[in-house]
Subunit: 354 residues, 2 copies
Amino acid sequence: MTATTIPSDKALVPFVSVDHMMQLVHSIGVEEMMRGIADYIEADFRRWESFDKTPRVASHSPVGVIELMPTSDGELYGFKYVNGHPKNTKEGLQTVTAFGLLASVETGYPVLLSEMTMLTALRTAATSAMVAKYLAPKGAHTMAMIGNGAQSEFQTLAMKAICGLKSVRLYDIDPAATAKAAHNLASQGIEVVSCASPEEAIEGAQILTTCTADKQYATILTDNMVGSGVHINAIGGDCPGKTELAEAILHRSDIFVEYPPQTRIEGEIQQLAPEHPVTEMWQVITGKVPGRSSDRQITLFDSVGFAIEDFSALRYVRDRLQETGLYHALDLLADPDDPRDLFGMLQRAAPAKG
Amino acid sequence: MTATTIPSDKALVPFVSVDHMMQLVHSIGVEEMMRGIADYIEADFRRWESFDKTPRVASHSPVGVIELMPTSDGELYGFKYVNGHPKNTKEGLQTVTAFGLLASVETGYPVLLSEMTMLTALRTAATSAMVAKYLAPKGAHTMAMIGNGAQSEFQTLAMKAICGLKSVRLYDIDPAATAKAAHNLASQGIEVVSCASPEEAIEGAQILTTCTADKQYATILTDNMVGSGVHINAIGGDCPGKTELAEAILHRSDIFVEYPPQTRIEGEIQQLAPEHPVTEMWQVITGKVPGRSSDRQITLFDSVGFAIEDFSALRYVRDRLQETGLYHALDLLADPDDPRDLFGMLQRAAPAKG
């Protein structure tokens, strides 16, 4: 016979599993949820200066990277665990998996543990669309989506929900990926055009999104492909040695970033001199500096993903726990009645004898 | 009606709850388990140079600290989340709570999530005793245990299991804490003496363990209390501004540490000049440098807790999962059949209509 102990409320941490996260998405609607997450991200970018910021803590290996991305606003602390293993896809695994946590700064006790593979896809797309709202040319209606992997449908629907996108032009080096994305987007209320080349994909597009996964210096967009007046949303250049744009494009663009110390290491701008001027997005959002200032300007959002975006997404999920009940209570923390009596708690959990 | 999705094996991460951890301790025996964890820690200290090491990543607030402690041996990656909030005790909360994770470096996929409040208590005591095995005077049989909080019983029993301790002399500024520890240790096969002063506690003791929790420069041991030949096991000085020993003691001692860059910030030696000589324990364990070299020498283990010890403890727990079955399978990772089809996985999880 085994004695069981009933954990106290303080010992239980709400846990959002992948299944619960998917139920949450469906109960809210994927576009509405990305709109909501974008609002949380925008609100947190507005109070950028109140956050502890640090470049992510990375552990590199020859085949990938494992990272911890912590931040805090003084009331809540959050971090995300995330890996990046481009070769995983060939083995039937996700390139990126993630989970995250929020904790009370006052007590240090976790208040939410959540899957973040799905949530990262949502927050990455929400961030791109929130930024495009500020930087894309007025009336932008068509996006070239180059790279049709796991992030492509989310990018498309976030741009639809937040920027009013009407048409997406898909291209991937692997036609099966394009077919997958086209199939998934077929009934989502947006025109979908499958393209046979990147040149075809960018025809008539005001927003160019690149999201490919190779861990190498690649040139997904060459200089002559990029005309004046477009907004480039560069998602896939997100670790040292991984870029997607020809350097010449960067020199023709006004470059907007999340957190310069991290982007200089991980983003497209690792190709440039360390003093090359960039604009921090939070300053555009708060009105300190202009975003797009002319119709002919090329704006480039050199996105690498920053801890505050995860923090915002976790806040969004946490704020929906009570109304939806879509979580488990996880017995994660030992919390004896007398905090000094951890050993006594252990002893009282001993199996009954006889 | 809600559709449920059955996660693939790859999506499920073994999770050891507090209840399962306590069952694991009882199925193995607390002393045997600390002996086992000490063996894993000692084995990992022997291959110290094969680990990625970094000082912990700390987020400080006026009331406490939240830390992430990552490390990797190239095959497994591990990290611990841990808080330190001395004021928590007054609010009925634990000063320290923790959980940890192991992941495959090859894929980035987590392979174990575990509570670590209980496990940290076990690994801290196991580390102290493993180190005392090398540094305490021969035939040491009596320990003064100053500070009778949550760690005190574990320290005592680890020293009994690993160093042959016969008698513990308890002292705490709060007699209720001493009474609690004495009660818990009463039937554990060791002589327990409750003392009314620190001076009384150290009478006849060869090992002096300090483990108090105030976040301030304190002087738990004064210089004249420490005679020659003893081993001091200083646990409680473990963050900036928190020390337990009079500086004069440090100057009379040979000081042994886990990882100097972290200990200089957090340990007793934050009181000393940055170039004050210290010895790394892994070099003692591998025989590169001597440990205790004379009967009159004062040895001081300035312990702050290092990521490799958590890594070792998590390895120990993971190696026992299959034989004990003491875990849940946690739906933590989204793992679609086609890794590029995260959106399709989400769509297929939609609630059935009608």
